[in-house]
Symmetry: C2
Subunit: 178 residues, 2 copies
């Protein structure tokens, strides 16, 4: 999975994260928490993240978006999507999208959509039943984003909204993955 | 983890499931679905279960309870607890208990409690943040069981109740594991 997309004259890649990305991902986790004014709630360490996600039996998986930095001849991480598998004994595996984040400098390029579509592609390719995630009541832009991409809001009663992409919904979304 | 407990003159073991248990576990998954009058909702096959849970990177894990069958000099499976890891980038790994089932003939021996306590022990030993599960509104006995063992009902509004054992709650529970 090493797709390349072009948008507004910039190209970017979406690819599975490796151990070498841990520091960048951890930095973005902290950025996201700061953005939500909850920086103090990040109790995990960089070492925790490495141990839990980049071991023989990782608890989570992660995709990163990269934009090439032409001055340095290397890529800069622009965003990430972190997910894990859940399991229903009646219907099989599903995916749960824990975090989706794009750095402010790289917004408006379709990177968030492509991260989401590529997670959906992982789900499709692994026969998952659905893709779920949770967004807060107050995060109107995120709710609009998932709604626009086919996610169904399972509850409007709790302050936290459980969003589900049914198998068909995420297959459609996966077909849009670069 | 091969503890032995005695209750009402019968002893039983709680141990991690192996590939050899798949057929018994699948049978119990179907029993549980029948008990809930939802047998037709079991879409997974025995082969699915084997592929998803007993591979190099299993999506779920399972404990089984066994009672020795003295006539045959072998053990009979009496129940199972099936769980998987979830992950919060802010607080780390947690456990989600998907199924907990004890066959009718073996109820009242404390097997359900010991399956739950041993899942809690897995969580404690793997630095999990909490242990969660969902029970239906109508399943009063299950709700009473989790309540009696320290689970907190996070919602009473949706027909499905999300039960959370905080880290302290499940550490207490883990200390009761055989």
């Amino acid at each position: 999975m090493c797709p390349v997309a072009h948008s507004r004259g910039m190209k970017y890649d979406i690819r599975p994260a490796t151990r070498a990305d841990v520091s960048n991902i951890y930095g973005m986790i902290k950025e996201l928490a700061c953005h939500e004014h909850k920086a103090e709630q990040v109790k995990t360490s960089l070492e925790d993240l490495e141990r839990h996600g980049f071991c023989q039996n990782p608890v989570f998986h992660c995709l990163v978006a990269e934009v090439p930095d032409e001055r340095r001849e290397e890529a800069k991480t622009a965003g990430y999507a972190l997910y894990y598998y859940t399991y229903s004994t009646w219907s099989g595996p599903s995916l749960y999208l824990e975090d989706l984040y794009v750095k402010p400098d790289y917004r408006g390029m379709g990177i968030g959509k492509q991260l989401l579509a590529n997670v959906a592609k992982v789900g499709r390719d692994n026969s998952c039943v659905h893709l779920q995630l949770t967004v807060s009541e107050g995060n109107a832009s995120a709710r609009a984003f998932y709604d626009a991409n086919g996610g169904q809001d399972l509850t409007g009663k709790e302050g936290w909204h459980m969003i589900r992409f049914s198998r068909e919904d995420f297959k459609n979304l996966a077909s849009e993955a670069m």
